[in-house]
Each structure stands twice: as C-alpha cells, then as structure tokens.
Amino acid sequence: MTLPLSPESLLVLAVLVPFLGAAALPIFHYIPNLREAVTLVTAGMLLLVVIAIATPVMDGIRPEASGFEIVPGIAFALQAEPLGLLFALVASSLWIVTSVYSIGYMRANAEPRQTSYYVCFAIALGSTMGVALAKNLFTLFLFYELLTISTYPLVTHKRSEEAMRAGRIYLGLLLGTSMVLFLPAIIATFVIGGTLDFTPGGIFAGKADATVLAVLLGLYVFGIGKAALMPLHFWLPAAMVAPTPVSALLHAVAVVKAGVFSIVKIVVYVFGVETLVQAGQSGWLTAVAGATVIAASVIALKQDNLKRRLAYSTVSQLSYVILGVAILTPLSVLGAAMHIAAHAWCKITLFFAAGSLYTSAHLTEVSQLDGIGRRMPWTMGAFTIGALGMIGLPPTAGFIGKWFILSGALQSANWLAVVVIIVSTGLNAGYFLPIVFRAFFRPPGGGASEAGAESDMPREAPWPIVAALSMTAAGAIALFFFPDVPLALSKLMIGAEAWTTTGL
C-alpha cells in the first residue's frame, strides 16, 4: 500500500496529532458533543497513523526524524522500532476505547472541568507517543517528564484535600526519582558511552566494567519511578483518587507502561542483553523484581477498596515485565514485551469494570460486591475475563506473556524466577477469584444495601461504558487467539540479539 506520506512525516505526525487535538479542544468548550467528537477523531487519526508506521517497521525499516541538537551529540529525535511501535499500538488503540468510556463516565457522574480533563488526556497521550517513539534517551526523558506533568492535573481532578495530597505524592515521587536517579544515569551514560542513541546491542559494549553497569542499572531501574518497583511504588495506590478512566488508561496503560517500556528499552538498547549477561547482572534485579511481585500481591490480598486492590495488582504485574527482562534470555525478554500488551488490555478491562460499578451502583469496596454479577452481567463478565488474564489462564492474553517469561526462566535455570511466577499466580488467583465468586455466586446483601431498597436495584452502566469494557474484554481474548502483530514486533526487537546466549 503506497502511503501519501513518508514514514518520517508519519513519525512526526504520530507525536504531533494528540497535541494538535489538545490545542483544538478548548475551542469547543461550550459544545460538549463536538468536543467529544474532536477527542474521538484525534484518537482515531492517531491509531491510523500508528498502524501506517507499523507496516514499514514490520518489514525491517526504521524510519527516523531529527530536530535540534540540544548538546553536541544529542539531538531531539524520533525513531520507529519494534518495541516502541508495540507500545504505541497498545496506547493508541486503547485511547479510543478509553475516550468512549470517559464520555460515558464523565457525563454520568457529572464531573466538573471536563474540557481540561480531555486536554490533559490528549497531552498525556502525545507524551506517551513521544516516549514510545524516542530515538535517544534525551527525547525519551523529555516526554517522560512531560507525561508526569500532564497527568498531574488528571490525578488531582477532584481537587479535594485528599486528591491534592495524592497529587503531591505523585508529582514528588515521580519527578524526584527521575531527577535524582534517572537523570544522573543518563548523564553518566553519555559520559561513559559517548552517545545517548538507542543502539541494538547496547552502548556500553566494552566500555564499562561490571560495577559501573550494576550502579547504572540500579539508577535506571529505581529512577524510572513509573515502573513502580518497590519501594518507590506508593504513588500508584495514592493516585487511585483520580476518576476511574484516568486510573484506567494512565495507570494501567500509559504511565506505568511508559515506565516498564523504558526499562525494557534501556536494557535491550542501552545496555544490551549480551553485555548484561556477561556482567552477571541478572541476579539482583530478579530478586528485587521478584520481591515486588510477591509483596505487592500479598498487600493486594488485604485491600478491600477495589481500585487499591487493582493498583497493587498492577505493581505486581509490572514487575513481571521487569522480571522477564531481568532473566536476560531472549524468550523471557520477548515475554516481557508481550506482557506489556497483554497486561494493558486485561488491566484496563478491570478498571473499566470498577468504574462501571461505581457509576451505576456507587460500589467501591470488594465486600459490597455480593451478588452484583446478576444485576450487571456485562460488567462482571468483563471483570472475570480481565481477572483470568491477570492470573494468566488461557484463553486470555495474559497467558502468553507469562508463558514466554516462564519458558525463559526455565531455560536459563533461574529457579528464583520460576518460584516467584508460580507462587504469584496462586496469589493472583487468591485475590481475584473471590471477587468473581462473590459477584456471581453469593446472594445480594451486605454492602449493596447502600445502593438503595429493592425497588432501586443497580442496573447496568450507561451504554458507552458497557461498550468500552466489552471491547477491551473481547480484545483480551482476541489477543490470545491472534497474537501475530505483538509477537512479530517482539521477535523483531530481539531479532538482532544473538540467540546463542548462555542457557539456550
């Protein structure tokens, strides 16, 4: 298919389109229907652009576009490569769905300040595209920070004391880690490695010894606070005070995904898997990631607030991705990339369901959910699919990612990782299945009395919400049966890596 635009301009367009949308939105402030249309059109256009870039990338082309050189040797530049494109596809496809959901949610709950909400959302998506398509660490860092700043007004949307406090934790932790840990790591990378460009095989080949690599890896992994590695994870549960669509997209898809995506990209393209294996870096990172997986799951067990339980589940699932990368085999890195996509679709379904429960029945706690499945079958059906995805059972997408990570762990005899995966799967079941059970197999009562008397029984949520969560649930299953695109992209990413690393 011949494109009217070159891949390079498509690349620039991919980052530009959301910002243009953000600029256009305030014009329609007084005509809400047109305003929502602008959001949907922008999201749709973005998806088309990203798909258009995907075709040449899958054929092996790596289009790039450069701007100013801010420091000799570092330019503000974009480049499309497989992993970035995977992330871009996930984010752009889910933006449309979330926009549909947002419209339903914001109107049903009569939320204030809707225009600034949609504007900040668009800017956040633009920043996410920038992170996904960055050619070097500087560009990635720039959009990473812009993402933090643009999501702050979304997190504090309610403007209550609690929301402002959460916003301070959010901003403080994310900006703090990025300035004090991430930035020095970038500067050190430039000084030692001579460049900040993402290079297959890494920048450090032969230039740094194991200690330096260990220190830098630590700085990166903890400096990228969006990946919510413990103990720097507590911004995520705090941010649950935001409206649910914000929680859904940003904290289950864009913000945290930008975090783990950055880590995967840095491990593969800045350090190089080969270099790290030779420097013996697998051990401590596996332990830290594994600890987060288990600890977060244990904390999730004890949470009654549904969104907080989901938040800790996210912390745990993000560390699966880090675990996959830490194991340092091609299979596990592939699994990590797949899990970025899989977790996104499954988690967003869960958050959508949580928002749906809040919107139509004003339910926020797990203990209130007895028998709700009969009243809101679509919502809880989608929830079940998402939950199965988190546990990692077929036929949901969550199975694929876990399968590859587990294979990689077995292959390199990383028994710690294997144990962590098995134990955590059990824990996941432990905090998700009871919800499903309660919803469908317990008679209504308990907390549902809040929702009113027999005559005022909760019904399904408004149709945009139901449409959105059905789409994501269907997507979670579809991804299991048709994993071609993410799989192809992930394989391309590790393709350049030597398949003869130790353990194979």
């Binding site: 503000f76 920070e145 403007r159 916003g167």
Partner: protein, 498 residues
Amino acid sequence: MSSVWPHLPILQVVIPLMGAILAAFTRRGATAYAIALAASLALPFVAGAMLWQVLSSGPISYAIGGWEPPFGIEYRVDLLNGFVLLLVSTVGAVIMPFAYRSVGLEIDSGRQAWFYSVYLLCLAGLLGVTITGDAFNAFVFLEISSLATYVLIALGHDRRALLAAYQYLIMGTVGATFYVIGVGFLYLLTGTLNFVDIAARLGDAPPDRINAILAALAFVSAGVSLKLALFPLHAWLPNAYAYAPSMVTAFLAATATKVAVYLLIRLFFSVFGQAVDFAALPVGEIMLLLSIAAMFVASIIAVFETNLKRMFAYSSVAQIGYITLGIGLANQAGLTGSIVHLFNHAIVKAALFAALGCVFFRLGSVSLADISGLGRRMPVTLTAFTVAGLGLIGTPGTVGFISKWYLAVGALDNGSWLLVFLIVASSLIAIVYVGRVVEVAWFRPANSPAVAEAADPPLSMLLPLILLALATIYFGFDTRLTAGVASMAAEMLIGGLR
C-alpha cells in the same frame, strides 16, 4: 554605516549614558520613557553586531580617545563579554515595554522621569563593566551601576525598600572598595591597569611576589563575590529584590549579578589564570563548597517564604550557586555550564519576576496566600510563570536543563558523582517551592474579591513576559547561540590557565 561600525564599543556605553542625561532634563515621565525605550531598543543591535564581528574575526580592541593601551583605557570585546553584553542589552530591551504600565503604577508621576534617567545610568554602568578592559575603569562603571541600583531600589513603594537600599549601599560599597584594594595591589605589582597587560606582566609569578599576588586575588574575589551575592555574602539580595519596584527586580535579577559573575570569571581565568596555579590553591574547593551551600541553604529558605518576590530572590542566590559551581569546577563542561547558565537563569528570572510584576499590577500583593486560584483569572500570566518555573527546575525541554546538563557533565569529568547528585538534589527543592506556587495558583479556589476581579494585564506587560517564556523553551532546544558561544568562550578561557 562604515563610519559607525568601528565605534560600536563606545556606542554601547554612550547611548544609554546620553539617554540618561537627556531623560534627566525632561519633566514628563512619558518623554523620559520614550528616550529610555529608544536607547534600550538600540543596544541589542549594537551588542549583536559586535558579537557577530567577534565570532567572525576575533576579539575587538577599541582605544578610548585614540590613546593606545596600556596607557589609555581599552574596551575589549571577546567571546565572553560579547555574550554577556548581548544578554544585558537584550534583557534591557525586552523589559522596557513591560516598564511602561508597571512603573506607571508603582512610581509617582513626579519621579518617573528621574526613574528612567537612573535606569539608563544603571544600564550604562552594567554595560561598561562588561565591555571595559581596564581594571580601574571596571570599578568606576561598577560603582555607577551600583549607585544607580541603590536609587532604583529605594524608589520602591514599601518603606522597607529604603532600608534594603541602605543595606545594599553599605555592603556594596565595601565590596567595591575591596575590589579597589585588590586592583591597587595589582597595579603596584605590574604598573599597569589593563587586564591583558596585567596578565602578561604577572606572567609566571616570580616566587618573591607570590604573597602580593595572592593578596590581590583574595581582595578582588571577596569584593566581586559580594556584588554577585555569593553565599554567605548574599544578605543584601533578598530584601533588595523583594522591595524594589517590579520592573527593577526583573531587570536586576537578570543582569546585575550576571555582570559581577562575568567580572569574576574574567579575573580568575584571564588575569590571574597564568600567574597563579589554581590547582595548588584551595580556591576551587572553596568555590565548590560555598556554591553547594548556596544551592541548598538558599533553596530551603525559599521553601518557607510566603512573599513570592523574596522566595524567588532566595532562589536567585541558589542559582548563582550553580554558576559559581561551574567556575569552581574549572573544566570545559563546567565553565560552559556556568556561562550558559548566566543566560538561561537571566531569561528565567526575568520571566518570573515579570510575571510577579503583572500579579502585583492587578492584585497589589505578591503574597502566596493572596494568589489562590489566580490561574483561572490570569491564565496567560500564570502559564508563562509556570513555564518559567519549569525552566527554573530544569525540566528537559527548557533552558534550565541545558545548564544542569553541562554542570553535571563537568562534575563527572572531575570524577565527582557526589556533585552530580547534589546538583540534581537541589533541583528537587526547587520543585517544592515552585510546585507550591503552582498548586496554590491553579489548583485552589479563589478566595478573595481581588482575585475574582483580576484579569490578565495589558498587552504591553504581557508581551515581554510571553517572549521570555517562549525563549525559555526555545533556547532549551536550539542551543547554538547560547551553549555554542559559551563553550567557545570556555575553551578560550581555559586555554589561558596554567
């Protein structure tokens, strides 16, 4: 044009000087303003032309009155002071449209003509310090600008401005006198007052003279450090910035300390660089220590301030710490970071204080409690303020990031990871106080009638502000002018070191 071209160096000083005299003869504020505007707008072109000439054909040397140096006074423009000249003239030009309404509000009409006259004197003094190649001439211009500054500050509407001006006068004159003592020693050692000639005659410092040379170094450093508000000699700055008229604060914050830093760099690297083995002296360590103290202590004090002008005055002290940190590092990247931060900090601070001036114009107050919810009422002003605040923090995509980058690379080149962490950690503190203002302005409801009636100020005040805010972002990406010239200047300066 060709008859003017060789005389550009003297024009740089004569234009504001003549402007000041003309303005002193007028009665009406509007006429004086017109003269000041004309003079200020002409200056960036003069400075730009000179910098362009230096970039293409090397340093410019201009003998005043035709008397050749070292007997006569020489104006010498090279990469370093060409850059600073451009900075000072441009800030002076950008701030003038802003001044019309701001000064109209804050100074009584009977004094406005004098105000503009003294402002032009200050500008002439600052430009003179920068352009001159003679040590004593530098003192004269330094005092011209300082005396003018004392007057400008004393014209603030709050009676505490008088106290601030007095305190600055005492401390500033002591500083200038220390500088003179140091120059006296240099004269006794070498018999000349011309910077280039002093450097040549000091040469490789004969060992029996070393005490005198060190004494001279000590006195000039102490004197100039007082002028640039190096911690702990900064006590005059917070009050001076807080109580001066808004336009004066914006102008001074962007220029006065920068010119003093220029003088320090010139003395350290060009004059003493060959004679004194800085590696053997603790000068570098002392600078580093004081800089880090400035960066942290001043930032922490800023966090607890409720008067916004004073908060950002302390922030200036901290930012000057960054500049002197680069001087202390004394390597290519570090010095580049210093020089580029002269420019970057000037833009950011001018923008911040201009925004605060706009807030004062509408509200009559710059207290944190009074600006609650102001973001919705004065969106352009507060957006520019937020952008400048991000520049202050050092967010990538703004000028602040560029300075921090070079300083951090400089620190790593010296092998000091600790310094890198200290640099970024102090930016964290900046996030706290900038974040607080942003949160109160944008994320809290309006709670006073003054805020409810506020609106963005007139365009003449907004335009410079918007320009400065855009510059904060633009020069964060296109660094060819700022970092490009700065690194060339740094290379030249370091080459002169032993």
